[in-house]
């Protein structure tokens, strides 16, 4: 009941998305409340990434409506900019800017978008770099860091904009196995701080630890949505069972 008292952070109503004739999302309905941690999983090509990329309009949806923090996403560029300021995103491929140092990666958007002074932006950036346990790498270029370090910088870079919602698009899928935990640790800590998070990931250990709700997608649809305990122990649909048995078997 307390959940319903919290404000709605992201609301998707009847969202459909087409790439040409291929329908990537089919009538998606999802409500995420502030402070909620959602983990989205499903086989590849199920539309998970497309769905969260619609939330900050890296992809445009064609049907239905998406509201983020009360603002509707449409063609209005002002709304898009306003929403992107409040929504941070972490990508599978890190996407750090290779020509800028770690510190510059973190200060660029706060300086340009939030119009922070260089000194303030750097102070903030160092605070977040400490939070992801990487302050000593501030002067290096992304190419000089390991994958795990780069992904932690990418998280810090997103946090520097003080977003209210964080989107994670398979943040550990491109990492060597020994680097996954250093990134997940940072994400767990972020989840514990009360951040609203939507994570596309196959890290089920992480999901059990932090998720308030699991969302399972297949073929562009949300097949099942439930709390982690019920989701893992009594999956309702056959497809969920099949998927879980595949990824939990090894």
């Amino acid at each position: 009941m307390t959940d319903n008292a919290r404000a709605e952070a992201v609301v998707l109503r009847g969202v459909s998305k087409f790439f040409g004739t291929f329908q990537a999302l089919k009538n998606i309905n999802l409500t995420v409340r502030e402070g909620e941690r959602i983990v989205v999983c499903g086989p590849s090509g199920s539309g998970k990434s497309t769905m969260i990329r619609c939330i900050n309009r890296l992809e445009a949806h064609q049907e239905g409506s998406i509201h983020v923090l009360g603002t509707e996403l449409g063609d209005d560029l002002k709304n898009i900019d306003a929403i992107r300021r409040e929504v941070g995103m972490v990508f599978q491929q890190f996407n750090l800017f290779p020509h800028l140092t770690v510190l510059e990666n973190c200060t660029l958007a706060p300086r340009l978008v939030l119009r922070m002074s260089e000194a303030d932006a750097e102070k903030e950036a160092m605070r977040y770099l400490e939070r992801v346990r990487i302050p000593e790498q501030a002067a290096k270029y992304p190419g000089q860091l390991s994958g795990g370090q780069q992904q932690r910088v990418a998280i810090a870079r997103a946090l520097c904009m003080t977003p209210r919602i964080m989107l994670f698009d398979e943040p550990t899928s491109a990492l060597d196995p020994e680097m996954i935990s250093e990134v997940l640790d940072v994400m767990v800590e972020l989840a514990n701080s009360g951040m609203t998070m939507i994570c596309v990931t196959h890290e089920m250990g992480f999901a059990r630890k932090v998720a308030d709700r699991m969302v399972f997608m297949a073929e562009g649809e949300i097949v099942e949505s439930n709390d982690p305990k019920s989701f893992f122990e009594q999956p309702k649909s056959e497809r969920t069972k099949q998927f879980l048995s595949q990824i939990l078997s090894h």
Binding site: L58, R84, N95, P98, A109
Partner: protein
């Protein structure tokens, strides 16, 4: 195989004498040996002649070419006597210091461009604009008590440098605009930029410059005709921009799509994305080709000779062409070749330095 590896290792450790390595590399098989012997014989035959001509038998200074005639050596006296004509052209003799300072300003700008602290788009643009304006006002005068010298009297090295920097300073922003235009989401802009680029690139430079210098005045209203030199520079800059735009486009296409997505996700708008994320990376990607384009453009400035400008090659012609020194044309051309070499070589070394430095930013 292992013997080869062993000898390579010995060479790396400096244990094998240089002569042994040389013999192994040049005389490995009988036809290697034959080619090596022929080449060596040629060098041994040529080198003394060259040194004799250029140094030992050369005449270094003389009031006219008479002492050179019949001599076996180079007549460097022509350079001593005529270097000011070659470097400054028809610029008023007592004002040569201005032309010299102007050239120096350009060289200083190029040297300062190597300082990493200035590698910010705004600082670099200001530096080049400042250097260019310094050059322009020193050469033209008409301000700060300097006498006015019209562009028709500019010449020699100074004119070559002026055309080159003006083309670069005007052409680079045009190239960026054209390259971005060609990638625009608006079909009309994309189509127009593409049409302009493909048309101009299909024309020879000489035709473009000739049209600007000779034909355009008939087509333009009087108030728009302006100075012939500027018309030529605008046309040259357009030509440069269209070639450079394609080079930048190549750099743009090499940028990973994730870069733009990350920038968008951070809330950066189109201009911020373009200026801070896209262009710096596009420039890095296209740097080798860009340096090459600069080198080509520097050498191509000599084409303006045909439409009656007195750049360094033309003033070279004049330096030996006036009776006294007619026999010393080879020396003049060697001297001019050395000037071109000095600029082009520094340019490409600078490019190599930039590339090495920028590789740091990529993995």
């Amino acid at each position: 195989m292992s013997a080869l590896a062993a000898s390579t290792a010995r060479y790396r450790h400096g244990m094998e004498p240089f002569a042994t390595v040389l013999v192994r590399r040049m005389f490995a098989t009988w036809h290697d040996a034959a080619i090596s012997i022929v080449c060596l014989a040629f060098v041994i035959w040529l080198l003394p002649k060259l040194i004799g001509w250029a140094f030992l038998d050369a005449v270094w200074s003389a009031p006219n070419a008479t002492p050179c005639i019949g001599g076996a050596g180079a007549c460097w006296a022509v350079i001593t006597a005529r270097w000011r004509l070659i470097i400054f052209g028809l610029y008023p003799f007592d004002q040569h210091w201005r032309s010299g300072l102007a050239c120096l300003a350009v060289v200083v700008v190029v040297v300062l461009s190597c300082v990493p602290a200035l590698w910010r788009p705004v600082r670099l643009s200001l530096l080049w604009l400042g250097g260019f304006l310094t050059f322009y006002f020193l050469m033209r005068g008409g301000v700060f008590g300097l006498s006015l010298v019209g562009t028709e009297r500019w010449g020699g090295m100074a004119l070559t440098l002026f055309i080159f920097t003006a083309v670069a300073v005007l052409g680079m922003p045009m190239a960026i605009i054209l390259a971005l235009g060609r990638q625009s989401e608006l079909p009309a802009i994309r189509w127009l930029a593409g049409l302009l680029i493909d048309t101009v690139r299909a024309l020879p430079l000489l035709t473009v410059l000739f049209t600007a210098a000779v034909i355009l005045p008939f087509a333009l209203p009087d108030w728009l005709i302006g100075d012939k030199l500027y018309r030529v520079i605008y046309a040259f800059a357009l030509f440069f921009a269209c070639a450079q735009a394609e080079i930048i486009r190549g750099g743009l296409q090499a940028i990973h799509a994730g870069q733009l997505e990350a920038a968008k996700a951070l809330g950066l708008g189109y201009w911020h994305r373009t200026w801070h994320i896209v262009l710096p990376q596009a420039f890095r990607n296209s740097l080798p080709a860009t340096i090459n384009q600069f080198v080509i453009t520097f050498k191509e400035t000599s084409i303006v000779i045909i439409i009656g400008f007195f750049e360094v090659l033309a003033s070279g012609h004049a330096a030996y062409g006036t009776g006294d020194w007619t026999s010393a044309y080879a020396e003049v051309y060697v001297f001019i070749a050395l000037i071109y070499f000095a600029f082009v070589f520094s340019l490409s070394r600078y490019g190599a330095h930039l590339e090495k430095r920028m590789r740091l930013g990529h993995d």
